[in-house]
């Protein structure tokens, strides 16, 4: 008796109230924007704990250094940055992004680190409308097949971008048969695909074997032992984080260094990892959109300032967020601090060109920088620190390389199933 009473009571109340609720929407839509006069609020997403913590700290260091060395305000608005920890977790990143936009009503979001965080947050920002500036997240599709208008990669890059020229460079060095060993996840697959798209797909080089190791591989012996008998004349490798340190160490232990040519993808020998490497890394070659050993003034001044502030050389994470600071401040300057009108503000950022520590940067119409790409060699500085010195420079490299957006976007995003190899391109009718 009692139970049915409660049940029907509840049902009638719910029905009644939801009819009432449906009739009139609650007031106050999210994302109410700031007045141009108040402080400029920046929500900065980075992992401060978890596997990405070291990179996350570099991101924050670079960003802080920009606002320290340059006045902490733009167009009369004080710049206030709030930092939130994503812990490298996509759900946490989403929650924090929501909190920034809906609770703190920030003018823009800068960050995060990982591709999956970046993609998820971009989807959220699409509905919220808040500008998102991504200096680090490099997932190709973010500015290719799945663009979000208000998310721009200021001072950012796509995973395959530096590796298109690297593939051609490798072929021009006389290498004809490569073996690849790349981390088996989207970033590793996009990096490897970028390299092979030009080396094999365009130039006609041969791929003797592709090895894929899971992220967090504790021991590379079983992979490295497959190299000598494979008939290759060079090895292309991409590992991330602690895996890179282990890989380079074992490469040396196996006696391959100086015997087998090793071509590294970006981040295999990033400054953040060189700090933990020794003589085993000296002389190794890789490509990237950041070279701390670049002699240009913008780079050297930044290196000096960073070294003085943090007693270490800047990694690409720090260089990118520093450059993003420069970029964004010029954009805000152009609209006289009026970031509340989002379209003019985003257009101002899109048309800004800067000479950053990374080199000369401007955006293509897809929201990704046309950048300078360096082929770099690890060298020892007089103070004993290792750094990457450019040995060849490619100016004005687009995310679409020389293919042009229309042709490039006909191919699928690089994955294990599509590595830009000649037969795969033929299968798609692209060659």
């Amino acid at each position: 008796m009692g139970r049915t009473g409660i049940g029907s009571g509840i049902v009638s109340i719910v029905v009644g109230l939801s009819l009432l609720a449906g009739a009139c929407a609650p007031p106050g839509a999210p994302g109410a924007s700031q007045k141009p006069s108040g402080p400029l609020k920046v929500g900065f997403l980075a992992p401060i704990t978890g596997t990405g913590a070291a990179s996350g700290n570099d991101m924050i260091n670079g960003w802080k250094l920009y606002w320290k060395t340059n006045a902490g305000n733009i167009a009369g608005r004080e710049v206030q940055t709030a930092y939130e920890d994503t812990a490298g977790d996509v759900n946490t990143a989403l929650t924090k992004a929501r909190q920034f936009v809906e609770q703190q009503q920030v003018d823009m979001i800068v960050g995060p680190l990982f591709a999956n965080e970046g993609l998820a947050v971009a989807d959220y920002l699409k509905t919220a409308g808040t500008p998102g500036f991504y200096p680090i997240v490099s997932a190709d599709d973010l500015t290719q097949r799945q663009r979000v208008d208000n998310v721009i990669r200021v001072a950012g890059w796509t995973s395959s971008q530096p590796h298109h020229p690297l593939g051609e460079w490798a072929y021009d060095q006389g290498y004809r048969k490569v073996l690849t060993i790349c981390a088996d996840y989207a970033f590793g697959q996009e990096v490897c695909g970028g390299f092979l798209r030009t080396f094999a797909g365009e130039k006609g080089g041969e791929v003797v074997k592709q090895l894929w190791d899971p992220v967090g591989t504790p021991d590379f012996s079983s992979y490295l032992s497959q190299i000598p008998g494979s008939g290759m004349d060079a090895v292309f490798a991409l590992q991330v984080g602690a895996d890179s340190v282990r890989f380079v160490k074992q490469w040396n232990d196996f006696g391959y260094k100086d015997k087998i040519p090793l071509i590294g993808g970006e981040v295999l020998l990033d400054q953040s990892l060189l700090r933990n490497m020794g003589p085993e890394a000296e002389g190794l070659i890789s490509a990237g959109h950041w070279a701390e050993g670049r002699p240009a003034k913008e780079t050297q001044d930044f290196d000096e300032a960073y070294l003085k502030e943090y007693n270490q050389l800047p990694s690409y994470y720090a260089a990118a967020t520093y450059s993003a600071g420069l970029w964004i401040s010029q954009g805000v300057q152009k609209v006289n601090g009026n970031t509340a009108d989002r379209k003019p503000f985003l257009d101002a950022v899109r048309t800004t060109e800067i000479d950053a520590p990374l080199g000369h940067l401007k955006l293509d119409s897809y929201g990704n920088p046309i950048a300078t790409i360096y082929v770099r060699r690890v060298e020892r500085r007089p103070d004993g620190k290792l750094w990457n010195v450019p040995i060849q420079t490619f100016e004005g490299v687009s995310q679409f390389w020389n293919f042009g957006p229309d042709k490039f976007l006909k191919q699928p995003v690089y994955s294990r199933d599509f590595q830009g190899l000649p037969e795969q391109l033929k299968g798609l009718g692209l060659k």
Binding site: G22, D85, V90, Q99, N116, L119, Q189
Partner: protein, 339 residues
Amino acid sequence: MNVLRLLSMHRAVLVAALALAVAVPYLTTSYYVSIATQVMYFGLLAMSIDLLGGYLGLMPLGHAGIMGVAAYVMGYLVSKAHWGWPAAVVAALLVTLVVCLVFGLLAVRTTGIFFVMITMAEGMLVWGLAYRWSSVTGAENGIRGVSRPEFATLYWQYYYLVLGVFIVCALLLTLVVRSPFGLVLKGIRESESRMLTLGYNVTLHKLLAFVLSGLFAGAAGLLYAWYNQFISPSAINITASTEGILMVVLGGPGTLLGPVLGAGAIVFVKNILSMYVTRWPTIMGLIFIAVVLFAQDGILGALRRARVGRSRGESVRSQGDRAWDALELEAESSRSSSA
């Protein structure tokens, strides 16, 4: 007399809670509305875990994986195959049903730690598939663009959708645990061998409970995917499954309200306390230690004890625990004979 008063009090509390839930979008900002939305779908997941862990006495460590099956199927169909949402929801729940049947057949043959291990393996299986099968699941970049039903695109509309689903599921679960079927589940928890001797088909009941629980987890998965409009492997990994169990333990296993309270507590600490305290995981850890030390029957148990304690001196659940101890020998012998 007493029972009547208790009932009317329950009714008053329920009505007040419902009125509050309906009023939430009018009382606060969109951020807190989205937090409340989270509490409800995590609460639903926790209740589904509790149906097995609390009522049947078999704690599953892979329910985030089952939630993931529904979320991924719906996500794929909506965003990549461009199905309409009603068809995608039906398909997702059907696939979840089939997966639960298979997983259940494997799992219900075991008890205790073996059940935990096998459900963990099942959860990891789903996670591994989501992580590796990149052409379908997008690997760790996940599936994007899982658009919500067109009538629930705004945050408050979506809140009411989740509230509606939550209430319906909570009512259904209440009916289940109060039904003769639910009593059998409790009976199995207290003594499997006795239920066998009484002529109940214990395995069938366990399997049905597993499938039922999986369907509710699947519903939570659908709400989850729509909420973020995105689904990725990190949402369904073992950490997510463990968090579901923590919600149950924190709130009070063997009750339906408890897990919802537990979900509320965890979502609160993760989303709101973390705004003010950088080391919020430490606080969460301390809360768990406190619960394990001082309130083994969870928040709800502690609340009940505070109320009932004056007249009776001990909780219902701790009586149940003593019954457990008494039956331990029997359970032990039945396990060895079946092996």
